[in-house]
Structure formats: C-alpha cells, structure tokens
Symmetry: C2
C-alpha cells in the first residue's frame, strides 16, 4: 500500500495531514538555481545525486538548469529515473548480482547508464551481462578516498582495473568515481580542505598513471554539498555529485561555514499530547524523520526542542513559559535529508502558505 | 511505487534478491506459540502490537492462537488491519485531528475499535466525530507511567478524564492504557521489576479511585516483550500488548535475562565490495536496517562485524584471517525490529533454506 497523499494542490498548509514531507518551493528553486550558477561559473559538470530527492520531477528541474544527468546508488533508483525519461544516469556504486546487472543492461536501451567497479571479478560479471544483452556498458573505477567503504585501495590497483575495463570489447571505461562521504561533514573548513586535497591527489595520480599508458580518463566524479567548491577548484574533478544542496538539513547546518543554501525540506507534525508541564508529543518519531545524524530541529518555535524520538512519537521539551497546545502544528528540520525523504511516498510543495504541488517520492525504498 | 518482491515461493534462500526482509517461519511460529501459551497459562488477554509486524497475515496467525485483537499506533495501521478483517483493534495512542477521527469513526462500522485520550479537549473532538458518524467510540485513558511521552500525569487527572468519558452518551470508557516503553530495555531484571511495580501501583490507584466512584474499569492494558511477565503477575493488568516477541532483535537480546524467544527476523544482504584488507561492504545501510537502537549483528559469521552504516552501504570489519568474497550473502540481525520492518514492502518467509511464502508488509509507512 502507498501512503495516502496528505494534501491536494490548493489547500492551505495548515490543512495538510501530518506527518508530511513539505518542500518550500521558493527555497528549493533558490538552491537549484544557485548550484547551477556555481557549476556554470566554475566550468564543471553537475550531476546531482538522486539518492537525496528520489524524484524524476526534481531531476528534470535540475536538468532544465543545466545538470548533465543524475547519480543514483541503486538499480531500482536508476529504473525509476530512466522510466521517467532521465537521459543520463551514473550508478555511483558496485552492482554485483547477475540479476541486477541484467536490469542495468536492460536500462542501457533506454538511457545512457554507467556503473562503478572496484574488483576484476565484478568487471567480468558486468561484461557477461553486457554480452548477454548485446549492449556496451560504461564502467567507472571507484577509488577509495577515505570514506572507508568501497573502492580500490591504491592508484596502482585503480590503473590495473581501468586497463582491464578499457581492454574489454563490451565495456567502456568511464573514468573515476572518487567520493569522500565522511569529508562532507567535517565541521571545519580547513579539515575539509585537507581531506579533499588528499582525494584530489589520489585521483590525479590515477589520471596521470593512465595517461602514461595512453588511456584517457573521461571523467573524475565525486563531491557532495559539504565540499563541492573544493573538488571544483581541484583541477582534476570534471563532475560534481552533490545532492543535499537541494534540501539541506540540520547536519549540514552544523558545518562551518554552513553551505550557502536555504532549508527547503521540512516534516510537518502535529502536537498530539501536552498533558504534562514542560512536555509535549508530536505525531512524528524516527519512523517519520531520520535521526541517525542527529535529532530534528524545531523550525521557528523558540523554547521548543525536539528532545527524543521513539518510533511514532516525537518528545518535545518546552522551556518555562512556553506552552504548546494539542493540535498545534510544527515544522521540523530533519537531521539528515536523504533518509527522511525515504520515509514518505509524497512531496507536498508549498509556497506562501499554500500547497502548490503534490508529487511522488517515486524511488522511495528502491534499495535493490 | 512498491518495491519488487525479492523472491517467489519455491526459490532457494540464496536466490532471494537483496536487501530483503527474511522471516524464519519455524522461529516465528515458535515465538507465537510460546507467547500464546504464556497468556493462556497466566489467564491474561493477549493483544499483540501490530506496530511490530504491520501485517494482517501475522495478526491472523496470532488470532488463531488466541489473541483477542491487535494494537496499533496510527489510524492508517488500523485501516490496513480492519480492511483485512481483524475484528478488534486498539489504537494505543492519541488521535487529535478531526479528519483522522472521522476515519476512526468510519472503521467502527467494520471492526471493534478503541483509542486513547489524555486530554479533555481531545475527548470532546472524539465525541464530535462519533456524533457526526452516528456511532459510539470506545476511549481509554492513557496514564503516564514513565515513558515521558503521552499520558495524564496523575491518578486524579486520570480519574477525572475517565469520568468525563463515562458520562458521555456517545463514548464508552474502555479502561486504562499504561505502557512503559523505556522499561522494556532496562538491562537488569531488578530494574525492570521496580519500574513495572511502579506502573502497576499507578494503574491500581486509578482503578481503585474509579471503583470508589462506581465506575468499572474494563481493561488495564500495556506491557512489552521486555516486561510482559511482570505486568501479567501484577494482578492489575488485564491485557498484554507485546509485539516484538514475534521477531526479536539485537536490542532485546541485550536484556538480562534475554526474553525467551528465538530470532526470527533477518535482513539478507550481499557483499558488494571487498577491495581492501579487513574491510567489506554489504548492500544494506540504515535505509535497509534500523540502527537507532544499535548496529545490526552479523548472524553466524564469526570474525565479521557490522561496523558502520551509511544510507545504502553497510561497512563490515573482518578480523584477521577472515575474508569475505564479493557476492557472499549474510544474514543481519536488526538492532530494532519494528522500524526495520518499516523499510520493506515484502516479507520473505523461509524454512529449511527455501522460500515458503512472500507476503506484504501491508501497513508499511502508515504514519498518518
């Protein structure tokens, strides 16, 4: 079952059923415009990460502003975008199951699609899937640059894997995936600067090593909302993958300086209990708002703090003299935007207190 | 969009697409049998909490073993159960929106339904909804017993609110909701015993106070998987609301003694990267397994630890001499069962290595 749409266009915001995922459309458009202008002025390609928005609608808005395509993490997300006409998709991740690789090959008939590898055995699986589907697939080498997740561990290993891909008749070497997730949330600018300088050094070593062997590197792609200006200035990156800039969240708000984007994503919640002094409860716990990167902030309601989350309840602490009433509505700022979006089937786009649009989080839950 | 079903009946477990929500049917049935036997022997009604399983299929299995009905937290969950024929549903929560209360009233034509209140204003709203729908609604008074969420703050306030409900021509006083969520996870038995003794004292004070006014209290309901034996022995509780016992999770496994149920819920995951010594990555991060009550445990794979979760990646630490291969499959034990279930559209029921049944997590995401 899908969730019922919590609103219809034309409603007042205060009529929206809660909990609901609100997008301030003025703020969203501001953010999309600003990042597009940055990429244009920096002369770098922008391929926003759809793991944030999970929405072909927003992907198309980004494309209208110049984005060259979208990133995704999962085959299911790629399918949702491809089926909605997104023409260029990079899976920034390793896909290792033959069934999933067959789905990737099928998408190659509808869209330009690429994926990552960090292992020669997986390259062979991708090759087999491409051969079975009579298509060519573009494969990027993921290099480990500090996130302690996937990625080959040395420039030499990256070069060897790129050679393997480039020598295949059914594969196309697409370049390097070099994303440092942990660096996005280093609070201090100097720390982020040092981390991305090291990333760029690693990527440059691979690019130079490939050039020495006569292998061109068509792309070096990475970066997030916390560091994109650093990758853009590095001289080695050719594409930015930032995604959260569209929405922002409380966690990015703690970076110094905070990224220069407006908070556009909120969860609307309703006070359902205020029976005891100093305490109130809203109808949104961590089933409705992600807390793994910190608790939500209460938007523009001084004296009220979101103090604890259980599955379906949010516990609010009210400072002395601050009284919440049952039925009162609050906007919550998520600690982390991406997984919060994943809790909802519908976006409710609001502007000036009115619901302007309701559209699906079409790739919600597409984890496979 | 719904997720694709990750399996079909008759498949081998190793063919199930990942990430996927696995239920060991032998273990589930053991757990359902054991709790049913406990309730029967203790002479107490069992009304399992569907916030755990979100599934009419499992609700019916519980009913076949003697459960008197189901608990839910949200109107949307009540709808999914009522529409699937569950005949007796308690919303263990405050519902304060007139639109949601109209939905509750509508359900009263299909099922026996009750809900909670901790505020006279909300009782008036429930009354109005019942009058508008020409039905009678059963309302329990929620009393605050330590979870620091909803609930009236004193026995006197509870008695006054019960009187208000009992005096209504459209409402039926249904008893007391007295659930102490925090007590479920106190690690030490003596601490749980003390907490539930205090809960029972509070409930008893309200029951006695009501009796002194000639108001019968039809039910005192509460308890969870960590404490149900204590509520059952209290002499004041008439119903148990435990839910997690069906599945269990790593967090309950840390109680001493651990509840005497088997782990039946797992997330199946696949190793997608093992490019560097001592590290591997599975295709399930916290979008696919809840981590707010602790990281998952790796089931029966010594030397491998789930060491960190990002949205779509699970980072595994491999002890010296332990090597994981790309494509290898693992079973993960969730830190917390309820929100993990909420990440999936499908249960994959397995027995002896084979997929026996695939059925929907029908009330997934029903937060409104």
């Amino acid at each position: 079952m899908l969730q019922n749409p919590p609103a219809e266009p034309g409603m007042a915001e205060e009529e929206v059923d809660t909990p609901a995922l609100l997008v301030d459309l003025d703020a969203l458009e501001h953010n999309l415009d600003r990042m597009a202008a940055f990429a244009a002025s920096a002369g770098i390609r922008l391929r926003p990460h759809a793991k944030t928005h999970k929405s072909p609608v927003i992907a198309h808005w980004q494309a209208q502003r110049g984005a060259v395509g979208q990133c995704v993490q999962k085959v299911g997300e790629a399918e949702i975008l491809a089926w909605a006409g997104v023409p260029d998709i990079l899976i920034t991740n390793e896909i290792v199951s033959p069934r999933k690789l067959a789905r990737v090959a099928a998408l190659s008939k509808m869209t330009n699609i690429a994926l990552c590898a960090d292992d020669a055995g997986v390259v062979a699986l991708i090759e087999a899937a491409a051969e079975a589907a009579s298509c060519r697939l573009t494969v990027l080498v993921e290099i480990h640059v500090g996130a302690n997740r996937a990625g080959v561990g040395s420039p030499a290993a990256a070069i060897a894997l790129a050679e393997r891909i480039a020598s295949s008749h059914t594969l196309i070497f697409g370049g390097l995936q070099a994303y440092h997730g942990g660096a996005q949330h280093l609070r201090d600018l100097d720390a982020r600067r040092a981390a991305i300088a090291a990333v760029a050094d690693t990527a440059r070593a691979v690019v130079d090593g490939l050039a020495a062997k006569g292998i061109a590197c068509p792309a070096v792609t990475g970066a997030g909302t916390g560091t994109f200006e650093l990758e853009a200035a590095s001289g080695v990156f050719t594409e930015l993958q930032a995604g959260s800039y569209a929405f922002m969240d409380a966690d990015y708000g703690r970076n110094r300086p905070a990224p220069d984007f407006r908070q556009s994503l909120f969860v609307a919640a309703t006070v359902m209990s205020a029976a005891r002094e100093g305490v109130a409860v809203v109808d949104c716990g961590h089933k409705g708002i992600a807390i793994e990167s910190g608790l939500p902030l209460v938007h523009e309601r001084p004296g009220v703090t979101y103090a604890g989350a259980s599955d379906e309840h949010g516990q609010l602490a009210c400072a002395a003299g601050t009284k919440l009433s049952v039925g009162e509505r609050l906007r919550l700022v998520p600690g982390h935007c991406d997984p919060t979006v994943d809790r909802y089937d519908w976006y409710v786009g609001v502007r000036d207190g009115w619901v302007e649009a309701v559209w699906p989080v079409a790739a919600r839950g597409m984890m496979a």
